[in-house]
Amino acid sequence: MRPHPTTLAEAVRLYRQHGEGREGAFSVLLDEFLDAFYTEIDPSRRQAMIDEAPPRTGEERHDAYIGAVGEHLARRWGLRIPPWSDAPWREVAEPWFVGMMGKGLSGLLLVESPIAFRRRRIFTEAEPLRRARMPIE
């Protein structure tokens, strides 16, 4: 049984160790990290969960999305935006409408996509990182 990722960097490391090339593995690890993040209520511990720079995967979309996740979680939950998220290679060259429905919902996603995603040319829904365990405001 592999360990539970408690930081975003660890989730990416686990993806590189166990998940590369496995369909859906990145999404599973990200969800597991998000569950850990949302069940942590102390802001300083939450900050530590996104502070460490995740390693580069070499997959343009993954690297950009990871940057957007780090920045979005900071903006969304009142934390400092981690400097690593601003690396110039953490964006995609061509607009990316995520998911199998992405292009068909382009009008919606262009409007909704949060700034951390939009500025990397990633277009997604307004609350792209929601989970059942995400605190209700």
């Binding site: 049984m1 539970h4 597991e32 829904e125």
Partner: protein
Amino acid sequence: MQELSKAAVEDAFRELGEILVRAGKMAEIAVYGGAAIMLQLEVTFRTADVDAHVESGDHGALMQAAREIAERRGWLRSWLSEAVTIYLGEPGGTTLYGNYPNETRVGLRVYVAKPDYLLAMKLRAMRIGRRDEEDAALLARASNITTFEAMLALLHRYFPKEPPDARRVAIVGQFAKRLNAPASDDVG
């Protein structure tokens, strides 16, 4: 993160039932989410936890037994999670999965949400660009609900008090369109 297989979950149900029987207790749960998909459909994925709603019985004894099992197996204490409860719609979307530890000594009765109910939950709250889309496609095919009209009717059936807004209708419409498109089509 723990990855629970179908066999591991069923074994935990047996142990839960055994603990409850020995204590002279009984509980009924309904299972939702990824665990319900894993238990009913032929899938390769495993689940990190079991989303469940306690339908009846001794809630305290059940959760205490779940904690004991977690400690013995090295699982997270939250392996039996009630976080799903706030997302449920109308009752009636479940079917009996099994009695534990066995049919004659029942400490735990397990129901699972049927594929069409799970699909309704996905359609109501599906996250764009995440695994939800793949799960919803699996559930739509398993329950033979593949048209836009059938999906809206399904939402009305299980969530009659929450009619989908224009945004949700657009998402469901695009999902149905994509589901019915040839695999190679880039549906716009």
